[in-house]
């Protein structure tokens, strides 16, 4: 049996069901709407597992599911060395969102990472604390800023309403997901010109964990044939 992990609710689940449906594989919730049990029609030997999108990377890496649908942002954030632990089978073309760095529009002197770095140095001198960047994507943001030589900042954890942290003075800048930039503008923020950390979309992954049976490998091939990927 091949276990396929799919986000258990919302647009991501609906779009995933639609994507598989268009390719001849019907995924659906079984039982009542509140139950997280699923069924698969159109191919044998594939079991649907409904999970929170944030848990799918971990379950894939652990080998508890064999295939999974989640955003590339969540996957890269949650799995160190992600490409040695999972493989991308197909980008799915929805759930697009950019992980970006945004600063107040009032910072007319800051348009690039180079500016952010200089502003951080001055801010630390002035306020005695490192410039705070609110995010929930700690690993991705830290690696990005390290690769681009930005110093004198600190990350503060923000699991929601991140755009409001600057106004509330719990952070000076943010690193967050945006699709249109509307919420950022409404909160007086702007995206840095070279501040795109990662362009994410929903993607079908397979786990690389050893221990797949021949049967599971064949099931995967059959599924890929049906899906045309």
């Amino acid at each position: 049996m091949l276990k396929l992990g799919v986000p258990s609710k919302g647009r991501l689940m609906d779009k995933t069901f639609q994507w598989f449906g268009q390719r001849g594989v019907t995924l659906r919730k079984s039982g009542s709407d509140r139950e997280y049990a699923g069924a698969v029609d159109g191919i044998d030997g594939v079991e649907l597992v409904l999970l929170s999108a944030g848990e799918i990377p971990r379950e894939l890496a652990a080998g508890n599911i064999h295939l999974g649908v989640t955003g590339t942002d969540l996957l890269r954030e949650k799995l160190a060395n992600w490409d040695s632990r999972v493989a991308e089978l197909a980008p799915m073309g929805f759930g697009r969102a950019d992980l970006i760095i945004a600063v107040p529009q009032a910072w007319v002197d800051v348009d690039t990472l180079d500016d952010l770095d200089a502003a951080a140095a001055a801010f630390r001198g002035q306020h005695g604390l490192r410039l705070r960047i609110a995010t929930k994507y700690h690993r991705l943001v830290r690696e990005f800023l390290r690769d681009h030589g930005v110093a004198d900042y600190q990350l503060v954890d923000s699991q929601g309403a991140t755009e409001g942290t600057v106004k509330n003075e719990t952070a000076e800048a943010i690193a967050d997901i945006t699709s249109t930039g509307e919420t950022l503008r409404a909160n007086g923020l702007k995206i840095l010109n070279d501040g795109l950390i990662h362009a994410s979309q929903a993607t079908l992954f397979r786990g690389r964990r050893a221990g797949w049976t021949d049967d599971q490998r064949q099931k995967l091939k059959a599924l890929q044939l049906v899906l045309g990927i």
Partner: protein, 358 residues
Amino acid sequence: MPGSPEILTEARRLRDHFADQGGLVVKAEVLQPAETLLDLYGEDIRARAYLTSDPLRGEMVLRPDFTVPVVQMHMETHAEPARYTYSGKVFRKQESDETRANEYVQVGYEVFDGQNPAGADAEVFATIAAGLDGLPVRAATGDIGILTAAVRGLQTTDARKAALLRHIWRPGRFKALLKRYGGAEMPASRAALLAADDPFAEAGPDIGRRSREEVAARIDALRADAAAAPIAGEEIGLIDAILSLRETCPNVLSALRDIAVDMPAVRDAVGRMSARLDALAARGIDVEALEFEGSYGRTSLEYYDGFVFGFYASDRPDLPPVATGGRYDALTARLGQGRAVPAVGGVIRPDLVMGLSC
């Protein structure tokens, strides 16, 4: 296994060796307050060390090295000169290479002695080398002090020198800054900002703790920078020449003396290197064959600011260094609240020593 009996025996042998050289045996807590490390290294330390939080003591860290606690202990209690040795586990997160140990023993030797820095550099290097005697290792050396002296000696504004010095340990950003100060075109957005009659015309609401005055101050700084003359190509060429040095110590010394003719600011640092080589030779180190790399030691933990060295398994370039060390005067200044003590030290990893000898 990080704590196998063989490794502990080897650690004991090395610590005894350091104690025989005059090192006072000291210990440090496994769990350290994280504040100092966070202040020193910022966010990078979170990627490298295990941080945890204590409800009463705040953020704590599993010690990623002994140097910081040993410096703190020395600054609080002891007078110069002092020599210390220690042996114990350190803990490092490995985010990209699972095969590298995240927990291993370090045995170290630290010298706090401002009387004779060249002699102290040579003492630490030779003591570490003696601990590795007979093993198939090669040594690499460098000197961050030469690069910082060269930057301080540039014919340019203090603001530019400060920005370059701040990024000595981030080679990519350092290079980009040097290029811009050398006259490369500024980003279009900055040119537009500086040309604007009212830079704040489309500023949007004032939110957050960075005030409009701070933004205005940076615009002034950018204007001043735009008005400053570019750093001459010859001077940038000399910095590049220093960074690309990769030769035996005597050849590097001779090249640096040539550079010092055009850039007198490095003369003192080159003199210190020369004195160090004499002191190393006096301790029986074959300096004729000793390698020197101009950019050695520019890792992202801002730590060493003078002499730096590492010992590597000769036939295993993929392994981490068996031993590393260097001078960290700036660290003692930061931790000593105004009081600075010239200090140099090094550590050996007994687990890697065991791997070489069997």
